[in-house]
């Protein structure tokens, strides 16, 4: 290509082009899942109306395009998805996209706080453990990491509830805010924070364990490299050595994991949001399974996929920024 554009833009465009086939595959996948499911839109509609005669049902089918060949239906479905039209939710009596957008904020807030806490704490603990490798501190941190890793988030949530809500009475058991209080300004912020403490802890501890273990291994590996020895010989203090010399290289694998795990965190928020009755996408996913609201469920899958693609794109950019050896070609 002779067109000259800044490398970062070219890189972004290339990544975007790579994401398109994946998105199309996901569209086909959700379509197939919808087709596999017993019953279709018309069954739901007719069930909603309380029954109708066969001729009317046939007319409805034709009106919704369900009498067309599968390829035509798939094409129409993909065109609709591409314009973020996920269909109608027969449970909420609203377009699915409206329902999703109402709940997206809560989930993103929960995920952003959980991941940043897991990332920061995991990096800090991992670095500390690596610098004091095989000491009591290291063993303690590593054992803690293993236990966090093995504890399912729903069990952790219940135990947090048992201690902080039932026994101590410090934190509210569920919801995103105190409904009858009508707080405003900073009171409202503080109220939401109090409601989010336990869900965030429950969601972040397992990822904290992942980052901790990876960061520990990574720091230990980087600390053995020649350039670190040179820096130490020059007389750099331990703190400076860690922050300026080791950290930047040791962070690379952790950032990769952050991008890879984002979709797992989205999945984990289903359980946590359901337990703490937070009105987010995860809770919606659970409810739509229970209520057989498949349009909403497929909308969630598609929206999650888009979010994951965007986040992976951002982590790739961050990765390139951290490691100047990577060329944006």
């Amino acid at each position: 290509m002779t067109l000259h554009m800044p490398p970062i833009l070219a890189y972004a465009l290339r990544r975007f082009a790579q994401a398109i086939p994946v998105i199309i595959l996901i569209m086909i996948g959700t379509f197939l899942l919808l087709k596999l499911a017993p019953g279709d839109t018309i069954d739901a509609l007719v069930g909603d109306m309380g029954g109708a005669d066969a001729a009317f049902i046939d007319r409805l089918r034709a009106e919704y395009g369900l009498d067309q060949p599968v390829w035509v239906q798939l094409w129409r479905y993909m065109v609709k998805l591409a314009s973020f039209d996920f269909g109608w939710s027969f449970v909420y009596e609203q377009p699915v996209s409206t329902v999703l957008m109402e709940r997206l904020g809560t989930t993103l807030l929960l995920m952003a706080t959980s991941l940043s806490i897991a990332f920061t704490a995991g990096i800090a603990l991992g670095a500390i453990a690596a610098r004091r490798a095989y000491s009591l501190t290291d063993n303690l941190i590593s054992v803690l990491g293993l236990v966090f890793y093995a504890t399912p988030s729903f069990f952790l949530s219940l135990m947090l509830m048992l201690v902080f809500s039932v026994k101590l009475g410090w934190l509210p058991v569920g919801g995103i805010k105190t409904i009858a209080a009508f707080y405003t300004g900073w009171d409202h912020v503080w109220d939401v924070v109090r409601h989010l403490i336990m869900p965030t802890a429950a969601l972040s501890l397992i990822y904290l364990a992942f980052y901790l273990r990876l960061m520990r291994a990574s720091v230990m590996e980087v600390a053995d490299l020649d350039y670190v020895r040179t820096a130490r010989a020059k007389g750099a203090g331990e703190g400076r050595l860690m922050i300026h010399h080791i950290m930047r290289n040791a962070l690379l694998p952790v950032v990769t994991l952050l991008g890879l795990q984002f979709s797992t965190v989205l999945g984990g928020s289903i359980v946590v949001e359901t337990i703490f009755s937070l009105p987010g996408l995860g809770q919606l996913a659970y409810k739509s399974v229970v209520q057989r609201d498949l349009n909403t469920l497929m909308g969630i899958i598609f929206l999650c996929a888009i979010i994951v693609v965007v986040v992976n794109f951002l982590t790739d950019l961050l990765y390139a920024r951290l490691d100047s050896r990577i060329e944006l070609k």
Binding site: L33, L36, V147, F154, F155, M161, I270, T274, V289
Partner: protein
């Protein structure tokens, strides 16, 4: 060990002896093995130690643990024996874990092997499919599959396998890509060995060690996924499951927290045993990885 054995030490001990020596060097891995043995014992002893259906009433509802020796770990709000539930739950968890892992590894090996061995457009197509599966959050896809296929235990196991094959597929692909250009593969090809035989007889055995290690991770994740499903009351209601017990224990968390705590500890220890086991296997199978 006899006298002769100690006198004439074989120059090269058999492979399993080396394996065991490397494995036992890691103390945590030994602990993992012990925990794993305990879980297996629990699964085997279900029905012997504590006869009776775990879903049936065994005593007064909400008897605390260590009060009545008929029900040593107490009963839940419907009078079901907690110990019996934990033992039968171990059986179900292990079974789902093993079968789902086999499904995931089988799909992963086939897709990864084809992509890595043939490369080119086959690789492109298969990798896009893998990426699509990786992009959809595992648990969301699992919920969708369960919503469509229903909550029967066979379907749940299959669905867990279907959502967890991507990581092994990528590992197998990477191994195949690095192995396919080696001399022994060229030699086999020149001898006229078919592609299928090269993939499964020549390359796959060499690519297996990291997959075996990763199998322990999938096993742990499958058990966690199944228990999360059961916790949300989307599991198979005809089988005792740790997740389901915790989910039901939630209703009596205030008065009888042991109903949720006991199966919870069982899950934590089981998952812990698999991750420790995995670390030990990694040390034993990939000795060159660590300096």
């Amino acid at each position: 060990m006899t006298f002769a054995d100690t006198e004439i030490a074989p120059p090269e001990p058999p492979r399993y002896v080396m394996f065991w020596r490397r494995y036992k060097r890691n103390r945590a891995a030994l602990l993992g093995l012990v925990l794993f043995a305990i879980v297996i014992l629990m699964a085997l002893s279900a029905g012997i130690v504590d006869p009776g259906d775990p879903l049936r009433r065994a005593g007064e509802p909400l008897t605390p643990p260590f009060i009545n020796w008929e029900t040593p770990l107490g009963t839940d709000q419907l009078g079901r024996d907690v110990l019996s539930g934990v033992l039968y739950g171990a059986r179900i968890s292990l079974m789902i874990g093993v079968v789902a892992t086999l499904v995931a590894i089988a799909i992963g090996v086939v897709i990864g092997a084809l992509a890595g061995y043939f490369g080119g457009w086959v690789d492109d197509v298969l990798m896009r499919i893998t990426e699509a599966f990786q992009t959809i959050p595992n648990f969301v896809l699992l919920l969708a599959l369960v919503a469509i296929m229903g909550s029967k235990i066979e379907w749940i196991t299959l669905a867990i396998g279907i959502v967890s094959w991507t990581a092994p597929a990528r590992m197998v692909r990477a191994e195949f890509m690095s192995l396919r250009g080696r001399e022994f593969v060229d030699a086999a090809r020149n001898l006229g060995v078919s592609n299928t035989a090269i993939i499964f007889r020549e390359i796959l055995p060499n690519a297996l060690p990291p997959i075996v290690v990763y199998a322990s991770v999938i096993m742990a994740l499958s058990i966690l996924m199944e228990s999360a499903l059961a916790f949300l009351a989307l599991g198979d209601p005809n089988y005792a499951s740790w997740g389901n017990m915790i989910g039901q224990g939630r209703a009596v968390l205030r008065t009888a927290p042991y109903c949720a705590v006991i199966p919870g500890i069982a899950i934590v220890l089981t998952v812990l045993s698999f991750s420790l086991l995995g670390e030990g296997l990694n040390d034993a199978l990939n000795p060159r990885q660590k300096k």
